[in-house]
């Protein structure tokens, strides 16, 4: 049983989302004593996600596809312009980038179970309320209902999401402005017309300024209809919901549907944190601002970084040195793979906030008519140059 004396462990993981569970699993597999704490009463609930993942993600994290969490398999994606032009990205182009529409709470619970089976301890309804670096380890107070426990950990993993407090407690600057935050709302709907092999993205100010509306089908006339909108574009309280309601009302494919779930969330569309390690601390996933700033997708990056975090933490524990320098390799390991694309997509996001619907229409129709072999900057430029060379100037810097 837990006692009120301090519990001494090797690794404390704060937050049981994908980043937390995978880090916990990897460190536990290394034979270290791991505790993962989750403040919510149920892992993955409420869902705060469009629930689309790539096929390559499952291979990356070593999770078998199972009907318990996979609702539907996608062939590709369709991007719908303000004028209704459809740009279809089929399997030959979209490739492993598209994949499955999932039940995210079941997915998160699968990952937590993997961590538990690897030997990690899990505490639910357990909220970290304070953090103190005492030299060679960190002291964290954890509150479960009315009881408070003291945990001494050689290394702490901040996997506490977009609303991370742990990084802030450790003195890391995490502040971002409204232009680097998207606010999202999503309905799960039943009784709507979906394209069951394609995710759909409606882009342009006509639908929503500074963002897009998505339709991710789950089969049987069920889909997630969601909206993400740049916070700098919000003029009135509750506007994201109004835009989504308007879109549904005006679209006969969706207007007869019934809402079976409402969820939402904040998403960083920023560059990643400048530093994701400190003495005895590693920051992973949304807490490290690893979400792709163009698409708003975060699960792949979170899982990739978590694998690197797990590996690095095991090495540091082995050396009996969890200082910032010893944990340093984590930075390079995740940035080598993810950072370049994040920077490029950040610039694209910045540009798209300014682009008019007319320009967007030209870009999308040029690409739709051009027979693209793959999604690459070169192919996009060729497509545009062939039809609207003047638009290239407007997009200078983006490509």
């Amino acid at each position: 049983m837990m006692m009120n004396d301090a519990l001494e462990i090797d690794c404390l993981v704060i937050g049981a989302g994908p980043a937390g569970s995978i880090t916990a699993r990897e460190v536990a597999r290394g034979g270290w004593k791991v505790l993962m704490v989750e403040k919510r009463p149920e892992i993955g609930v409420p869902v705060r996600c469009g629930e689309g993942i790539s096929k390559e993600l499952l291979d990356l994290i070593g999770l078998e596809r199972a009907p318990s969490f996979v609702s539907a398999e996608m062939d590709g994606a369709k991007i719908i312009s303000p004028g209704g032009t459809v740009l279809t990205l089929g399997p030959e182009i979209a490739g492993p980038e598209v994949g499955f529409v999932i039940e995210r709470e079941m997915f998160d619970q699968e990952l937590a179970k993997m961590a538990a089976r690897a030997g990690a301890e899990i505490w639910m309804r357990a909220e970290a309320i304070s953090y103190e670096d005492v030299g060679d380890h960190v002291v964290v107070k954890i509150k479960i209902l009315s009881e408070t426990f003291t945990v001494r950990a050689r290394v702490v993993v901040a996997a506490d999401g977009f609303e991370s407090l742990v990084a802030r407690w450790a003195g890391i600057e995490t502040k971002i402005g409204p232009r680097d935050i998207d606010t999202c709302i999503q309905y799960e709907m039943v009784g709507i017309e979906t394209d069951d092999r394609f995710t759909e993205f409606f882009v342009g100010r006509k639908y929503v300024p500074g963002g897009y509306i998505w339709c991710f089908p789950k089969g049987h006339g069920i889909a997630n209809l969601g909206l993400g909108m740049n916070a700098s574009m919000v003029k009135e309280p509750g506007e994201p919901r109004s835009y989504l309601d308007d879109f549904i009302r005006k679209n006969p494919r969706f207007s007869k549907g019934k809402i079976t779930e409402i969820n939402g969330g904040g998403v960083s569309v920023s560059l990643p944190l400048e530093e994701t390690v400190a003495d005895h601390l590693v920051i992973v996933g949304d807490a490290a601002r690893m979400i792709d700033p163009l698409t708003g997708g975060g699960v792949y990056n979170a899982c990739y970084a978590a694998l690197q975090a797990g590996k690095t933490i095991c090495e540091a524990l082995e050396k009996d040195d969890t200082s910032k320098a010893s944990l340093g390799p984590y930075e390079r390991r995740w940035r080598d793979r993810l950072e370049m694309e994040m920077v490029r997509n950040y610039l694209a996001k910045e540009k798209l906030l300014e682009v008019s619907d007319e320009t967007l229409e030209k870009v999308l129709s040029a690409i739709a008519e051009y027979d693209m072999k793959e999604i690459s900057t070169e192919e996009l430029l060729k497509a545009l140059a062939s039809k609207y060379p003047e638009v290239l100037k407007e997009l200078a810097g983006l490509m």
Binding site: P46, R48, G161, I176, T183, I185, P237, P240, G265, G266
Partner: protein, 64 residues
Amino acid sequence: MSSIPSWDEIGCIRCVACVGSCPVGSIRFSNNRIIFLGETCTGCGLCVRICPVGALSRKGDDDE
């Protein structure tokens, strides 16, 4: 203190977008409740804009 927004507990979907957006870390989510730590709130209103369902409002907006 008057700068703290009003929280519509019934209308809130607990997505905690407000918590993560607060530039001064003045909003907490604990025991399924949104808690405003008044002393550091600057009244910038970002949380009100971020809330996707309009469950936050500036105090006074509703009453007048």
